[in-house]
């Protein structure tokens, strides 16, 4: 009874177990919640028929083990229940000592006892309902990253403690302490400053040294000069008996800069892609002719192996089975499945839609065309990351200006007046004009932008995206799966109403089919029961399916033969049409279309209003490309069709300031060649790996958000820079006029920092709720 009462309080849109918002009124948000709610118990031994047994072979487990621990990337972590369920693995498998999930990074760490078998854990994770990928030792950065982060945190803690305590002592001196107390406070200043100078500021020294070594102006150099010279000056004054110290203001700016850098680093580690995903093909399993299970990597040239329905072909090869229905859209964007016959060549990345087929390998996975494509893609990524961003450039200029000015002033003023006074003023200039707003404001702005983007369902894999975003002029869209939904939808039928009986027979015919038509029909007629009475169902490749219904009567059995056949080239706005025949007579026609996403047209229109050129790049047929492209409002000259991946890339390279949005393998090369590559939700892993941005929410909606956050980031950056400029000019002038003493520096510098902080935070508030 208690339970039903509870049920009433939880509305339909929330998970029954954990309360997370669910979609489509489902009872649970994920299978973990369902399992945890139902007192599940399963302790099985998967010794028999475990497809992961190959993982136990030493040559395999060796590449994954990392100090007795294995790491998995778990794809579909939803909520805290998933964490609970997965961390119960030691309960189910006693040889597993530890299972720990890092939710933010989708990482699972497994520790096994000496007798433990990795295959058992892998199978168990699958049984629990998760897609897990073993991460190779070489790809795992997080371990060393943690150690580095801890070290950074300690340095920040020391800097913070030093800055805080120094301020107290400095305040006492400004407030007019005297006698022994004054002497004590003065020397405490120096003592407290040492840990900061020798420990916390280490990373700046490295940066400054590199700056000298490679002869590039880097922001660490002026920071170190300001730090060291203010330390020397303050110590000199301390010994001389004067109370002019820069200890406190220097400590606080070092602390703030360290803090800002750490914040940015953490945001990048957390929100930029967590681990490099290997190919999803690596963990796929196939069987050889003699029934030995293999993984994609183990297939050798000449091997004949079986590819089940809905599975990806892992290597280039030759079709051994008589016929196969193959989806090539990942590879070349062609939206309709193709019929392949015996002895035709198939490529890695093709997907089998028909019943299991046999393939003889012509290459290994490493040697496949697909892999060559990927290697090219990765070379591109390397080039792409060498991008100097705006604030670095500005910082360089500011640093050069300040130091030239300081040098000239020192010589002139020193020549005409005194070098002592000249040095005081120059030092005040350097300390006060330290490019705080640049060292602190820009990274902070970027970090806030990342975080906001993540909340809106946009994952960034590259830190420069926002700065590049403002230069984008040409936007290239992929068609299949990007502008369109990438799957067929039933748009029209003849007759307009099809009776339930016929629907159920049609569904019965398509029951076992992986053809897109079958999926479209199942989606359109969700509520219709599948007719069980069909027999002798036979799929004829490329043309359709045939089946019989036997109606027993008194005399002899009546046989109704039903057939679904594709119609020749279409006349409507459809991509595909089929006719349903009953004993040779047409009883219904069905028209299908790969429909545009709801938002596509609107989106293209909005982008065009911003004076951005929208293009369409597709591997699909010209007629379909024109139809879909023009429906979106893309100009006819801007539509390119029947392209191979290399051609897509070549087109993009002809333009400047490009952005490419796609989802398939055939887009990977183009994505890496464009300035900003975006892969949408549901893209293949390989595509994601070659893009800069990944939309975690379905569809193209996040694109508008991305542009909005981009312009907010741009405005905020510019405002910060203006503030910094005004501050630097004013404070710098005052410093050179000799009006700035350490007390004023201690007041002005935090003020400018706070100003930049407020400006950065305000920049990302959506004032108008749109």
């Amino acid at each position: 009874m208690e339970k039903t009462n509870l049920d009433l309080h939880i509305s339909n849109e929330h998970c029954h177990y954990c309360g997370t918002t669910t979609s489509h009124g489902q009872r649970y948000c994920c299978s973990a919640c369902e399992k945890l709610d139902s007192d599940f118990a399963f302790v099985k031994d998967y010794k028999e028929s475990n497809p992961y047994l190959y993982l136990d072979k030493p040559e395999y487990s060796h590449t994954f083990i990392n100090e007795n621990q294995y790491h998995f990337f778990i794809e579909n972590l939803q909520c805290s229940s998933c964490v609970h369920l997965i961390e119960k693995i030691p309960d189910f498998y006693s040889e597993c000592i530890l299972a720990r999930v890092n939710f933010g990074q989708n990482l699972l760490t497994i520790e096994l006892s000496a007798k433990g078998q990795l295959s058992q854990v892998a199978k168990l994770i699958e049984e629990l309902g998760y897609n897990a990928y073993l991460i190779k030792k070489a790809d795992l950065e997080s371990q060393s990253r943690h150690l580095k982060n801890r070290e950074d945190l300690k340095k920040i803690a020391v800097a913070g403690a030093v800055a805080g305590n120094l301020m107290i002592f400095a305040f006492a001196i400004y407030a007019g302490a005297d006698g022994i107390a004054l002497q004590f406070f003065r020397w405490m200043n120096l003592v407290l400053f040492l840990p900061l100078l020798l420990y916390s500021a280490q990373s700046f020294y490295v940066g400054a040294w590199n700056s000298i070594k490679y002869r590039v102006v880097h922001i660490d150099l002026p920071i170190v000069i300001a730090l060291v010279s203010s330390f020397a000056f303050s110590t000199y004054n301390l010994i001389q008996g004067s109370n002019d110290f820069y200890f406190d203001s220097t400590a606080s700016f070092i602390f703030l800069i360290l803090l800002a850098r750490y914040f940015v680093k953490i945001t990048q580690q957390y929100y930029l892609s967590p681990v490099r995903l290997g190919s999803s093909l690596v963990n796929q399993k196939y069987t050889l002719l003699d029934h030995t299970p293999v993984v994609a990597e183990q297939i050798k040239i000449g091997d004949v192996f079986k590819v089940s329905a809905d599975q990806m072909i892992p290597v280039d090869g030759i079709l051994v089975s008589p016929k196969a229905l193959i989806d090539t859209s990942y590879y070349n964007g062609e939206s309709m499945p193709q019929v392949f016959t015996e002895a035709l060549q198939v490529y890695s990345g093709f997907k089998n839609l028909s019943e299991p087929i046999l393939i003889q390998a012509l290459s290994t996975m490493q040697g496949s065309e697909l892999n060559k494509l990927l290697t090219q893609t990765q070379d591109h990524l390397f080039i792409k990351n060498n991008y100097i961003n705006l604030s670095d450039k500005l910082a360089q200029r500011l640093v050069t200006t300040v130091f030239t000015l300081a040098g000239l002033f020192f010589i002139f003023w020193g020549y005409f007046h005194s070098y002592q006074e000249s040095f005081n003023r120059v030092l005040a200039l350097i300390v006060v004009a330290c490019p705080c707003a640049l060292a602190f404001g820009s990274p902070l702005t970027m970090a806030i932008a990342f975080k906001k983007a993540q909340k809106k369902g946009i994952a960034l894999r590259n830190a420069n995206v926002f700065e590049k975003l403002n230069h984008v002029k040409n936007i290239f869209f992929d068609k299949t799966g990007t502008l369109t939904q990438g799957q067929l939808t039933l748009i029209q039928t003849w007759p307009e109403q099809i009776n339930e009986e016929l629907k159920s027979i049609i569904l019965g015919l398509e029951k076992k089919s992986y053809h897109p038509v079958a999926f479209a029909l199942r989606a359109a007629w969700k509520n219709t029961a599948v007719s069980p009475s069909l027999t002798h169902i036979k799929e004829t490749f490329g043309s359709g399916v045939k089946g019989q219904i036997i109606i027993p009567t008194d005399l002899h059995d009546l046989i109704d033969t039903y057939e679904i056949k594709s119609l020749p080239e279409n006349m409507h706005e459809d991509d595909l049409a089929v006719v349903v025949l009953k004993n040779g007579t047409a009883v219904a026609r069905l028209y299908f279309n790969d429909q545009l996403r709801l938002e596509s047209k609107d989106l293209v229109h909005k982008l065009q209003l911003k004076n951005l050129n929208c293009y369409l790049l597709t591997g699909d047929k010209k007629s379909r490309a024109l139809l879909k492209g023009q429906a979106c409002g893309i100009k006819q000259d801007y539509i390119f069709s029947e392209l191979y991946p290399e051609e897509k890339k070549a087109i993009i390279e002809k333009y400047h300031s490009t952005m490419m949005i796609g989802d398939g393998l055939n887009d990977a090369l183009a994505l890496s060649a464009s300035d900003i590559g975006i892969s949408i939700k549901g893209s293949s892993h390989l595509t994601i790996d070659s893009s800069d941005v990944l939309f975690l929410r379905g569809g193209l909606e996040p694109l508008i958000e991305l542009f909005k956050i981009g312009s907010q980031a741009d405005h905020t950056l510019k405002r910060n820079l203006t503030l910094a400029l005004i501050y630097n000019i004013t404070a710098g002038t005052f410093a050179l006029l000799g009006l700035i003493n350490p007390f004023w520096a201690a007041v002005l510098m935090p003020m400018s920092t706070v100003l930049v902080l407020i400006s950065s935070l305000l920049g990302f508030i959506d004032w108008r709720n749109t």
């Binding site: 805290s80 964490v83 609970h84 961390e87 119960k88 030691p90 309960d91 006693s94 720990r100 999930v101 890092n102 939710f103 933010g104 990074q105 943690h146 982060n149 801890r150 945190l153 300690k154 803690a157 020391v158 403690a161 305590n165 006698g179 022994i180 107390a181 004590f184 405490m188």
Partner: protein
């Protein structure tokens, strides 16, 4: 003013103590992952851990 001689070293010691505590917490990995532990908190101990505890007491 003589009280300062006592108070200031005490304040500094206190500060050093907290700094040490922070160092210890960082070294033991308490700041490595800030999201997952909050999810783990309300979970029942796994049977294995419970058994271990019972055996120890």
């Amino acid at each position: 003013m003589s009280v300062l001689i006592l108070v200031i070293p005490m304040a500094l010691l206190l500060g050093a103590g907290f700094l040490y505590a922070f160092f210890w917490a960082t070294s033991s990995g308490q700041f490595d992952d800030l999201t997952t532990p909050s999810m783990r908190m309300l979970d029942q101990d796994s049977k294995k851990l419970q058994n271990n505890k019972e055996n120890n007491t």
